[in-house]
Point group: C2
Chain length 196, copies 2
Amino acid sequence: MKLLEQRIKQDGYILDDNIVKVDSFLNHQLDIRFLSSLGEEIYRYFRDKEFTKILTIEASGIALATVIAERFNYIPVVFAKKQKTKNIGTDLFEESVKSYTTDKEYTVTVSKKFLSPDDKLLIVDDFLAEGNAMRGLIGLANQSGASIEGLSVAIEKSFQSGGDMIRDMGYDLLSLARIKSIANGEITFIKQDYDW
Amino acid sequence: MKLLEQRIKQDGYILDDNIVKVDSFLNHQLDIRFLSSLGEEIYRYFRDKEFTKILTIEASGIALATVIAERFNYIPVVFAKKQKTKNIGTDLFEESVKSYTTDKEYTVTVSKKFLSPDDKLLIVDDFLAEGNAMRGLIGLANQSGASIEGLSVAIEKSFQSGGDMIRDMGYDLLSLARIKSIANGEITFIKQDYDW
């Protein structure tokens, strides 16, 4: 998706050869108009599918999931939580996830009330690198018996293994921008078939 | 706001005489169409003000902030983070906050890049009880020199002190539903002037 690639080149910055920061528009400050245009692209790609819910994970996935839901006739968004609070209740699906950015294990949870075998899910997140959070979301969906009809992220770091892992599992994954490499201060992208 | 009061009565449930759960539409599963109608009410209340940014806190505030931003001509949303990750950077505003639900202290942070003395803020969150998270957001805004032009929450638990604390500070606070009491399985609300 050219629009996102251009924005990453314009406003992203490289912390080292592994990390690109897009905190001015995607995951700390949020450019909602821009996110809406990403939501529109995700809708165009998946519009022939019937989803019943969008599943994402706190916190950065929530805004993108919100604007996607607006396009899919306001299907509900469910966001997995990253830790248990005393209020969440005991009737939970749980998966253990390793964080790439903090290097710690944490638990992601969803209330059993909000995922069922009747659900057809679009799973959404902002970033895909090693795929640990996505694996957690897939695990939660599988526990519930819901079917996973599609997955989408804004940015895939394709030099890490998460994207290929998910495709190898047979899922339909849309990554709006696929970063091929971050080296010598230069970000390069993988050309994609659905560039429009 | 009658719409939210009705929804709380319909879909909320009481955990004890202190806690009402609205996780089926506001803070775990999200009814985006309903949140949009809340965003519209918040816009109607504040539409004569000029905001440059919406400040909220992860995670439950993000979806509401997103739909409000859509109404205020897509001003940026900035969400404060609840813990430091190794990626967030060192140039941060920080405030210490005590969580009402987990009883722990945590740090809320915002990158100094995203709040400045030129900013006119609308501060948004889903819930207001003791006001600890709101106090953290107000502290971050004050550190930055930004002016706080308004604050809004979906649900204020008016039998706790947060709402009055913020009004006593002189701020313009819009709480869409103000819960007066939760007792004997019954939720009662404070009648508000701006019910429409």
